[in-house]
């Protein structure tokens, strides 16, 4: 059993882990009771478990917890709140993108990273950013519209 400290959504959190290879997803959900990274496949194939590590969207289901100690971890709830929404969240609501919302961490956190790199992304850049994501409800095009909206309003 080892104690590690994770920097999550701006707060320092100490957890006991008995397996340094445990995927970050399980530590965030199970130990820190953070709900937003969701289990979709455990294989890095869908994006439901996405969090940002130092501003990059990564799949927490295939990221060993030991590899992110001391790095800045951001979940969906860490990018904005109803009072201080991130422009991507505002755009997501304006476009009424989601249906079930299970996949949302992947799409929103990927969009946030995209807009930080390319504040005015081309359609090709948006498609490329989203290419590894799945949404079974079929909200792909709505997500693209939301990114365009967020870019316009930035």
């Amino acid at each position: 059993m080892a104690q590690i400290t994770l920097l999550v959504d701006g707060a320092s959190r100490t957890v006991d882990i008995d397996d340094a290879d445990a995927p970050l997803l399980y530590v965030l959900r199970d130990e820190l009771t953070l709900n937003n990274p969701r289990f979709g496949c455990g294989l890095g194939q869908c994006g439901a478990c996405t969090v940002q590590i130092d501003g990059r969207a990564v799949r927490s289901c295939v990221t060993a917890v030991s590899s992110v100690v001391g790095r800045k971890i951001t979940t969906l709830a860490g990018i904005g709140t109803p009072d201080k929404p991130h422009p991507v969240q505002t755009a997501w609501i304006a476009e009424q993108v989601n249906q079930c919302g299970y996949c949302i961490s992947g799409w929103v956190l990927t969009a946030v990273e995209l807009l930080e790199r390319h504040p005015k992304p081309t359609d090709a850049q948006i498609n490329d950013a989203f290419k590894g994501l799945i949404c079974r409800c079929g909200t792909h095009s709505a997500a693209v519209k939301a990114v365009r909206r967020a870019a316009q309003q930035a």
Partner: protein
């Protein structure tokens, strides 16, 4: 709804009764309308028991005036909660923000069937509109007595009843009843689930008076999803809760014969649960449960399923014996009609096995304690799931409480009910709350499947090219091999693995007979399941349970008939469609697309490497009327299809929330495209081999329809029908017909992968 009031209706007696206001003072006596037999109108401190004839089982008002609507269905992510709030706010006359909707909690809401058949608005919404209107009527009567103003001289503005002429005479709903409960009955047909129906003396508002129905209000559930504050079923954490993972065989039908518990003893807290043929591991920490499930050494029994494999599946279906054949609809005499035909056209279409393939594999939590249990589930059918659990763990139905929560979209009878039952049987065994989270392979290889089918059609023409005989028959696995209701223990894997007698049914379906052919018959044939018990290929309802397979056949074949007579596909349909709403849907789609009248195929691009075509498909489902046109670019050398444009004309009757409806149609057309273009469950002789998103590919960014135009047909005077799944069934035929238009080649098998399209083009 076809349900009518049954004779089991509660017999209420006419009564005149005093009621007490909140301070206990005797206020007034009320006369109930003779024909409606109200029990009484009186605030009571405790909510009367949940029962179909109790008004408070549908609508209550809290102390602060919040209107609570108890909706015994669920919102799978399409915005039903918002639509219900709009309908209730409209009928009871409060601001939309004052309505709170409670969904799918068997301790609080009546069994209205959960989600099925896309009747959330048409059935559940209508019942809540009626009971909201009745609540308003009773509150106005109470206000009349209190204010000394006749009912006819009162108006309601945002939950305040006031004199129409003298607004200083006023009393709010909160003051009248807030925090207490109307002890009043409604006329109930004695049924629950999708058959539940109530009638009330209060009249519903006329569409011309709508202020809230018809507004595009934003979805109530989205901020919680976008800001990550919404708790889903996956997020339930109970004190003492164990995490479980199921252990499934790698050969279908194999059962554990030896389990080496020592193989997981190095994993903290991990232990085995083995109940008959059901095998699981549990641990205090979730990751340890995952590791234990992977590490556990199991000796499995020999099993030889001899599945035909997905490549040879249609050969198997063709040869398989017919268990049941039913001509569900017949007019005229097909056999006689076809004899008179001077020309016969036949067509055959194959639709693959498909998975629910939910975004998240199922998750459920159960807490079984002695003589009572609670289950937290995101199944579409929480009540059925509770009944199933009750039977499985030996409790009376009323002792199992189901709490539905948001979770992954399920798109039909997916594996959520199986996971819920697993959690319950494990919790009972261990005496602790248990959370079951299925892994990805269980959401693909082990979910109940949408059945594969072969759809064949035959048409006979007279000498003038008129269709005089038409037949459509689907041969398929039963869609009730695994009962879609999941109300019996044998309807889930846990029941099947613990040896309970199976609960199979034989059924498929037919397309709606919108087309008026002189002699017609529509039917189906079912074949035996590939494996009877705990099969990874058990078949059930997948979203729009028989739409895509049957309509792929029937609407492609309508096009074949049009081509056989050199008729324009829109004209041909119009020739045989008589109902004005059928005709309007087709006409409006064609107009909005800019449909150029000509027969298919277009011959000018027949041999070009790239050709663009357009195809139409039409359906009526309940009283929803939909036409979909697809414009497709075909790359002849690669078989790749670019989906350039969809135009969907959609008539659902009364529209509650236009923007949300548009989104529901838009998203489902993308989902339907995934099923038409990509999805097919793969399996070999032993097992399903679609176990992840690489072996069961679905729609990503590539291959999306480039443009979707949705045309909502406004019919506010018509009752609302359903919209949650009806449009998606048209996608395969619309695309197939467009490919035929472009190339003259018919696609006869879904999915339309480049390899398959290329092969079809090369064969031609």
């Amino acid at each position: 709804m076809t349900d009518t009031m049954s004779d089991t209706m509660t017999d209420t007696t006419l009564s005149r009764r005093a009621f007490l206001n909140a301070t206990g003072a005797l206020v007034v006596t009320l006369a109930a309308p003779a024909e409606w037999a109200q029990a009484s109108v009186s605030g009571v401190a405790a909510r009367p028991p949940l029962k179909g004839d109790q008004l408070s089982s549908y609508i209550t008002i809290e102390a602060d005036g919040t209107v609570v609507a108890y909706y015994g269905k669920i919102d799978g992510g399409q915005g039903l909660g918002t639509a219900i709030a709009q309908m209730v706010a409209e009928e009871i006359d409060v601001a939309y923000e004052r309505v709170r909707v409670i969904m799918g909690d068997s301790a609080l809401t009546l069994d209205m069937g959960g989600a099925s058949a896309a009747i959330g608005v048409s059935h559940g919404g209508t019942m809540l509109r009626r009971t909201a209107a009745e609540t308003r009527r009773l509150l106005i009567e109470m206000a009349s007595a209190k204010l000394g103003v006749p009912v006819t001289a009162l108006t309601v503005t945002d939950g305040v009843v006031h004199g129409s002429a003298d607004p200083t005479k006023r009393v709010s709903y909160a003051e009248l009843i807030g925090g207490r409960y109307l002890d009043s009955t409604v006329k109930w047909n004695g049924r629950l689930s999708n058959g539940l129906a109530v009638e009330v003396p209060a009249a519903l508002k006329k569409p011309a008076d709508f202020k809230i129905i018809g507004l595009s209000l934003p979805r109530q559930d989205l901020p919680g999803k976008v800001f990550g504050t919404l708790e889903m079923v996956n997020d339930v954490r109970l004190p003492g809760m164990l995490h479980a993972r199921m252990v499934r065989p790698t050969v279908a039908g194999a059962v554990p014969v030896k389990v080496d518990e020592a193989s997981i003893k190095h994993i903290a807290g991990a232990r085995v649960v083995w109940i008959k043929d059901l095998l699981a591991v549990v641990a205090e920490k979730e990751w340890n449960a995952v590791k234990a499930a992977r590490a556990l050494k199991v000796t499995w029994s020999d099993s030889k399923p001899n599945f035909p494999g997905h490549e040879k599946l249609f050969e198997h279906i063709r040869k398989a014996p017919i268990v049941k054949r039913e001509f569900q609809r017949q007019n005229g005499n097909f056999e006689e009609g076809i004899k008179q035909a001077v020309r016969i056209v036949e067509g055959e279409y194959e639709f693959p096995t498909q998975s629910h393939a939910s975004m998240g594999p199922a998750c459920a939590i159960a807490d079984v304690r002695g003589d009572a249990a609670t289950i937290w589930t995101s199944t579409q059918k929480p009540y059925d799931s509770a009944y199933c659990v009750a039977e499985l763990i030996g409790l009376p139905r009323e002792k199992v409480r189901a709490v539905w929560m948001f979770g992954t979209g399920s798109y039909g009878r997916n594996e959520q009910g199986d996971a819920t039952a697993d959690a319950a049987i494990l919790s009972k065994h261990l005496g602790r709350p248990v959370r079951v989270q299925y892994m990805r392979h269980e959401g693909l290889a082990w979910d109940p499947k949408g059945t594969a089918s072969i759809n064949r059609s035959r048409a006979g023409f007279d000498a003038n090219g008129k269709v005089i005989a038409y037949e459509n028959i689907s041969k398929a696995f039963s869609r009730l091999d695994n009962n879609t209701r999941e109300a019996r223990a044998a309807d889930v894997l846990a029941g099947q693995l613990t040896g309970l007698p199976l609960n199979r049914g034989e059924s498929f379906e037919i397309p709606v007979a919108s087309y008026t052919f002189e002699h017609g018959r529509l039917g189906w044939e079912t074949i035996p399941p590939l494996m009877e018990r705990a099969s990874p290929l058990r078949t059930t309802h997948l979203r729009d349970p028989y739409g895509p397979p049957i309509l792929f056949g029937s609407e492609s074949f309508i096009d074949e008939m049009a081509a056989a007579t050199n008729a324009d596909p829109v004209d041909f349909r119009m020739q045989y469609l008589k109902h004005p709403r059928d005709r309007d849907a087709v006409r409006i789609a064609a107009e909005n697309y800019g449909w150029e009248k000509r027969p298919s195929p277009r011959n000018d691009r027949k041999d070009a490497d790239v050709a663009i075509g357009r195809g139409i498909a039409f359906r009526r489902h309940f009283t929803t009327f939909i036409a979909l046109i697809a414009e497709v670019r075909v790359h002849r050398r690669t078989g790749k299809l670019d989906l350039l444009r969809y135009v969907c004309a959609h008539d659902v009757g009364m529209i509650v929330n236009p923007d949300t409806l548009r989104h529901v149609i838009d998203r489902q057309l993308v989902y339907g495209t995934s099923r038409a273009m990509i999805e097919e469950v793969r399996f070999d002789e032993n097992m399903v081999t679609s176990v992840d998103w690489e072996s069961y590919p679905v729609m990503h960014m590539d291959g999306l329809p480039e443009r979707i135009d949705i045309v909502l047909i406004r019919r506010p005077e018509e009752p609302p029908s359903g919209a949650a799944e009806m449009a998606l069934g048209l996608v395969p035929a619309a695309i197939g017909n467009a490919v035929f238009d472009a190339t003259g080649v018919r696609l006869r098998r879904v999915p339309f992968t480049p390899e398959r399209v290329k092969a079809a083009l090369e064969r031609a």
